[in-house]
Symmetry: C2
Subunit: 241 residues, 2 copies
DNA sequence: CTTCAACTGACATAAACCTGTCAGTTGAAG
DNA sequence: CTTCAACTGACAGGTTTATGTCAGTTGAAG
C-alpha cells in the first residue's frame, strides 16, 4: 500500500488522550512501541508528539532514547492548588451553561457546593474530595487570545487604542477605538468599542485584531460615546426586555 | 454546477458565529436572506440552524415565517449574574492554564483581580465592568457529560454503581465499581474507581460509559480499595515527587 | 564511526467533512 | 386549496485532514 488512511478506527484527539494515559507511567516509550500500541505508524506518533508538545503537555523526546513525560500530570487531590480548584469551579460553570438547562442546574449546584466547602477547608483539602483538573484541550486556542491582556487593561483604564483589524471579508484597516466591553462567546472574544473612524459603535472579533497599539491617551466619557450609551444602543436594536 | 463546495471562504464555525450576530437583532430572518448574507445556499442555512439549536442557541424557525431568536443573548454588564461572573473567572483560568505559561500568568492575574474586585461591588456591578459571558461553543459536548451529575453524586456519597462500559477496542462490559475520583482533562472526564470485576483500580472515560445504575448500596473503606490507596497506587507507578 | 531513535519534508491517497442540487414533506396563514 | 418558507433525506462532488511511505538529517551514546 502506498499511503492513505488505514481505517476510521479511533479519532485523532482520542488517540492523543490515550497517548497521554500511556505516557503517564513516567517511563520511557519509543515511538515504535507507541505506534504499535495505538495502531498507527511511527510517523503519526511523531506528529502526535509534536501536537502534544504544542498543547503544553510536558513530554520530551530524546534521540536514541525515547519519549518520557517530564513533569507529573496527574496530581492527587491533595495537591490541588486553590487555582486548580477555581479552575474546576469555572469549568463546571461553563460546561453547565454551555449545554442544556438540566446539566446547567447541576453544574450550578456543584459550584455552590464548592463555594460552601471552600471556607471550611483552609488547609489542604481533605482526602476524598474526588476531583482534579487537567488542563489540556488539544486546541490551538492561543492565537485568538493573544491580545486579551492588553485589551482588558485598556477597557479597565480607558485607554485609546490604535488597532489594525482584518475584516471578515479579508480587508485590513487601521482605526482609533475606545474599548468599552469584552464579550466571551465560548469560542471567540469580541471587543465592543467606540470607533473614531466610523464615528459609531463597532464590535470586533479579538482573534481578527492584528495589532494593538496603546496610544497612551486616556479617554473621558463624552456624550454619545460611553459604555452606558452603547448598552442603550444595543438595547434599542432589540425587542427584548 | 452539480454540487461541491463553493470555495474555502469562511470556516463553518465562523459562519455560525456570524449568524448569531445577525440574529441578535431579534428580528425575523428568512433562510433565503441569511443565505444571501453569508453567501451559502439555503440548505446550508437550514443545516446551520439545526447546529445552532443543537448547541443551545435559542433560535426558533416557524414555517412560512422565518427565524428569530427567542431569548436575549447579549445582556448588558449590569445584568451579569454572580454565576456568569464565576463562569468568566473559570473560563479565564482554563484558557490560561490550557496554553502557554505567559497567557497562563495573565489569566491568573486577571482571576486575582476579579477576586479582589468582587467584595467591593456588593450591589450590581458598576457600569464599566466591561465583561460578559456567552456560553456557546458549537460543540456537541452534551453526550460526553451525560452521566456526570450521577457520578459526582456517587463519588460524594460512596455509592456502588453498576456501569456498562464501551472499551476503546469496542467491547461492551458490565461491572460493579466504587467510584473514587473524577478527573477533567479539558476535553473528557475520567472516573477512577475500584472495579470489582477486575479486583483492581481502573480508570474509565466518562463519555464511554453507556449506562449507570445506582445499586443503592453504599460502600465503606476497605483495605486496598480506598481513594487513599488509589492515590498511593498512582504515585507508585510514577517516579515523580 | 556505528547504532539508535527522534525528527523533518515531500508526496500520494483515502477518509471525513462541507456544501449544493434535487425532490420532496410539513404547518401555518390567507 | 394555495402560498410561503421551514424542514428532511439522498446524492454528488469538491475541500480538508489524517495518515502512510519514502528519503533523508540530527544528536547522543557506545
Amino acid at each position: 500500500m502506498a499511503g492513505g488512511r488505514k481505517q476510521t478506527g479511533i479519532r485523532r484527539s482520542d488517540r492523543l488522550f490515550d497517548l497521554i494515559q500511556i505516557l503517564r507511567d513516567g517511563k520511557l516509550h519509543k515511538a515504535r512501541d507507541l505506534a504499535e500500541r495505538v495502531e498507527v505508524s511511527e510517523r503519526t506518533i511523531w506528529r502526535d508528539m509534536a501536537t502534544l508538545k504544542a498543547s503544553g503537555v510536558p513530554v520530551e523526546g530524546e534521540r536514541g532514547v525515547g519519549y518520557m513525560i517530564t513533569a507529573p500530570i496527574t496530581l492527587p487531590p491533595m495537591n490541588l492548588t486553590m487555582g486548580e480548584l477555581e479552575a474546576l469551579h469555572l469549568a463546571v460553570a461553563i460546561l453547565g451553561e454551555a449545554t442544556d438547562p438540566e446539566l446547567s442546574e447541576n453544574a450550578q449546584s456543584l459550584a455552590a457546593k464548592i463555594d460552601a466547602v471552600l471556607p471550611e477547608n483552609t488547609g489542604p483539602p481533605a482526602a476524598g474530595w474526588g476531583h482534579a483538573v487537567h488542563p489540556f484541550a488539544f486546541a490551538d486556542a492561543r492565537a485568538g487570545f493573544r491580545h486579551m491582556p492588553l485589551l482588558r487593561q485598556a477597557v479597565r483604564d480607558r485607554k485609546v487604542l490604535r488597532i489594525t483589524y482584518l475584516s471578515l471579508t479579508g480587508e485590513s484597516s487601521t482605526r482609533l477605538v475606545r474599548p468599552l466591553q469584552l464579550d466571551y462567546w465560548g469560542r471567540v472574544w469580541t471587543m465592543s468599542a467606540w470607533c473614531e473612524k466610523r464615528a459609531g459603535f463597532r464590535t470586533f472579533r479579538v482573534d481578527r485584531i492584528e495589532t494593538v497599539i496603546d496610544t497612551g491617551a486616556q479617554f473621558k466619557d463624552e456624550p454619545g460615546k460611553t459604555l452606558t450609551e452603547f448598552i442603550a444602543y444595543q438595547k434599542a436594536n432589540k425587542p427584548f426586555q
